[in-house]
């Protein structure tokens, strides 16, 4: 089944970072053509008009791999070990079928009857190493594929979430990684509606319905019950931002202080989405919600958001982290660490972009999550015994406008309001940087 193997590693393009310097083309042509011939590189840089960054076009090792399916000569095929598409130039007759069907326009047509394909440089692409701005990077898909292929999906399909819900992905992925030996507790919120509770759940594992005020302490009790019975069970509380930062905070803080060995995950969609998008403690500055409306005087939320993850950091937990569904590898690594903790509470804060409340169309969710990280709006870090370490270092953060302009809840922001928001984000990030320095 050689054409059915999946891609293991791929090149990821961050278009906003491309300056069009052409170093990738030079390296590529040096390696493949043995000379300085940017036009014969396996990557093309399409300039755009003033003010817009150029677009690098290359083979992205996509999953559809239509070039393999349409090639009438069999010159394109997949390598079983890596899932990479291989090209045999001597077989190719330049019929251009692949060119017309490539979804990424990543095949280079040299006019002298030659088609050029990215060969991934046998594993270490030269263009990625050459890129000075980080517009090209490598992504290893193997850990995620391992989860997808080798573990059981413990939630049934067709749960009651809104289409494109990232929080549903988060809970599905979490229990998939933690395994069947898990008990999940959900306080009222979206998740109670998505997973269900009692005997009417969409899960193959027990789901406990806690009160909004006591998710942490109730799950701590569940954990103690299992400990008394001598059973080692992962006990997870899956609470929203309201159930964590506002109503459930005292229970969480107390459980952290007592050192109850549960995994507390806060999926943060930055408002009470389940009840109709009311403001919560983590709703950011200037953001529209149903209770912070726009009008003659109202300009969205007047207060800054509560930095709940820093509050939790000060509890000196054995392990805590922030995560985002747009970076599944990063989240996976953090979950694996959380699994190992045998003493004390683990806190994970996931930013889950909410298409209903944030007002964007569902297919943008991944991009928005990524922009939240790339603008330092939501930095990804972890802390072991209170020692903070960034897991995704953003060298050249994007302006916050790149994030805010993607969604309806920020549509009203003026330039001044954006710069205020930018200042808040910068200050918070600097605080984190200070904390991450070794004493």
């Amino acid at each position: 089944m050689r054409d059915m193997t999946t891609v293991r590693r791929k090149i990821v393009v961050d278009r906003d970072r491309c300056t069009g310097c052409g170093l990738c083309q030079i390296e590529c042509s040096l390696l493949h053509e043995g000379g300085f011939q940017p036009a014969a590189a396996r990557i093309r840089i399409q300039p755009r008009k003033e003010g817009k960054s150029p677009v690098p076009l290359l083979c992205l090792q996509c999953e559809s791999q239509q070039c393999v399916f349409v090639c009438p000569t069999g010159a394109r095929w997949k390598r079983v070990e890596t899932g990479q598409v291989v090209f045999q130039e001597d077989k190719c007759v330049h019929c251009k079928m692949c060119l017309l069907t490539c979804p990424n326009a990543g095949i280079i047509d040299l006019q002298e009857e030659r088609l050029l394909f990215c060969d991934f440089c046998g594993g270490e692409p030269a263009c990625v190493e050459a890129c000075p701005k980080g517009a090209l990077s490598l992504r290893d898909l193997r850990p995620i594929q391992k989860v997808r292929l080798e573990t059981e999906n413990l939630l049934s399909p067709g749960l009651g979430s809104c289409p494109g819900c990232t929080a549903e992905w988060a809970v599905r992925f979490t229990v998939q990684v933690l395994g069947a030996n898990t008990v999940v507790g959900v306080p009222p919120g979206c998740m109670a509606g998505i997973v269900g509770f009692g005997t009417n759940t969409g899960a193959k594992i027990p789901v406990v319905f806690t009160l909004l005020t006591n998710a942490a302490s109730m799950m701590a009790g569940v954990k103690h019950h299992f400990l008394k019975r001598g059973r080692d069970v992962h006990v997870v509380a899956f609470a929203g931002d309201g159930g964590t930062a506002d109503i459930g905070l005292q229970a969480l803080s107390a459980a952290a202080e007592r050192g109850d060995n549960i995994i507390y995950i806060c999926y943060d969609n930055e408002a009470y989405m389940n009840t109709g998008i009311q403001r919560s403690g983590t709703t950011p500055l200037g953001c529209w919600t149903a209770t912070t409306p726009l009008g003659k005087t109202g300009r969205g939320k007047k207060q800054m958001s509560k930095d709940i993850s820093l509050i939790m950091l000060m509890h000196g937990l054995p392990y805590m982290a922030t995560a985002c569904p747009s970076y599944p590898e990063d989240y996976l690594a953090k979950l694996e660490k959380a699994k190992q903790v045998r003493e004390g509470l683990v806190y994970i804060h996931i930013l889950t972009p909410c298409q209903t409340g944030w007002q964007f169309s569902p297919e943008k969710a991944t991009e928005i999550g990524r922009l939240a990280v790339e603008t330092n709006y939501f930095p990804l870090w972890e802390a072991i015994d209170g020692n903070l370490r960034f897991t995704k270092k953003i060298e050249f953060p994007k302006p916050i406008e790149a994030f805010t302009r993607m969604m309806g809840r920020y549509k009203h922001l003026t330039r001044q309001e954006i710069s205020t928001l930018q200042k808040v984000i910068d200050t918070r990030y600097q605080k984190l940087v200070k904390l991450s320095r070794p004493q």
Partner: protein, 416 residues
Amino acid sequence: MRRDHILFIGNSGAAINAIKGIRHVNAECPITLLSQEPHTAYSPVLTTYLIAGKMTRNRMALVDEAFYHDYQIERRYNQRAISVSATDRKVFLEDGTAIDYDKLLIATGAIPNLLDCDFPIGLPVFTVRTIEDAEKIQSRASNWRKVVFAGAGLVSFQIANALRKYSDRMVFIDIADQILSKNLDTQASRLVQRQIEAEGGTFLLGRNIIHVEESQEGVVVHTDQGETITGNALLVGTGVHPNIPEIVPKGIVKVNRGILTDRRMRTSVESIFAAGDVCETFDLISGDYRVVSNWPNACFQGQVAGQNMGGGEAFFEGSLAMNATSVFGLSFASIGEVRDHPGKEREIASYLDEPRGIYKKWVFQGDRMIGAIMLGDIGENALVAEVIRRRIRISQEKKALMAYPSKAASLLCGLL
């Protein structure tokens, strides 16, 4: 996992991709493949390359022998089915045996159109579709000095391009008033015609062949306007039509021009599927059902049919006419709906650069691009094809393209 017995009639692009599609969702079900031709699958795309000598017979195979083994396919070559019973789900073979099936895929492809007129058997009149056709032409072509082509389309030009090294005179006769009438608009076809005329081709357009006779050199062709053209051979490249096998139970399986299929590539009978050039299916741009014979569509249709037959679910996004080729030193590409249709609400941006021999045309309907012609420089074809295929709404880019039709690449690249 269902263990339906799946039977294939046909062995080319659609069938091979259907096999891949089935195994994508179902590793267990037994698959049997019936084929009249005695070799492994190959693509008719390559026959003109075989004539040109860019391809050899050994390398024509689309997949190797190991493929059939890996994918666990039972092959029956040189087997002709004589009838299908849709109610009993049985296929009867020539040798009197019958095969039971649970799902049947008809992927018999297309056969070339022949001349309308009758002509005596034994004349050097050839069509080009199979390996055998190509080999016949290849073995004789070195003696041909003057070749007559019926039809001025892509196939004719590709063969003509291949035969250029032998014959110095080529005459193209076509019933339409312009060449490449299926692929290009008037302006672009005029440019291509000029290029081919400069290379030694002559055109007789708007004429029908009424009679073909034997002559000392080879053939004499008579047109309805009284011309007689002699040549060493007559090559027929007037397009193809679906090869609907006689065994298809007529009246039960709906057949228009091709076998009618829905977006799951299922025919009007639940257990019978069709894919490839033989079927008439959803058109991406117009939304009508029609026959679009080209290789990539056949491959995608095969994949969709395979996944549905294997027990999964997939939908065909719609066929899209597209072509990119290079003949007589001129490359051109056409994608989607490009012909001039008076009376339809279309907006057109085009530009012509005579000295450099570049012509581009972008066709819009509403705020979507539905067709494109590139001639001389086909650098944008991949980008444009994707913008058309994904049906992206491009109201802003459209405005810019109407003003600057030459800047397509830089305007559209951000959309992918």
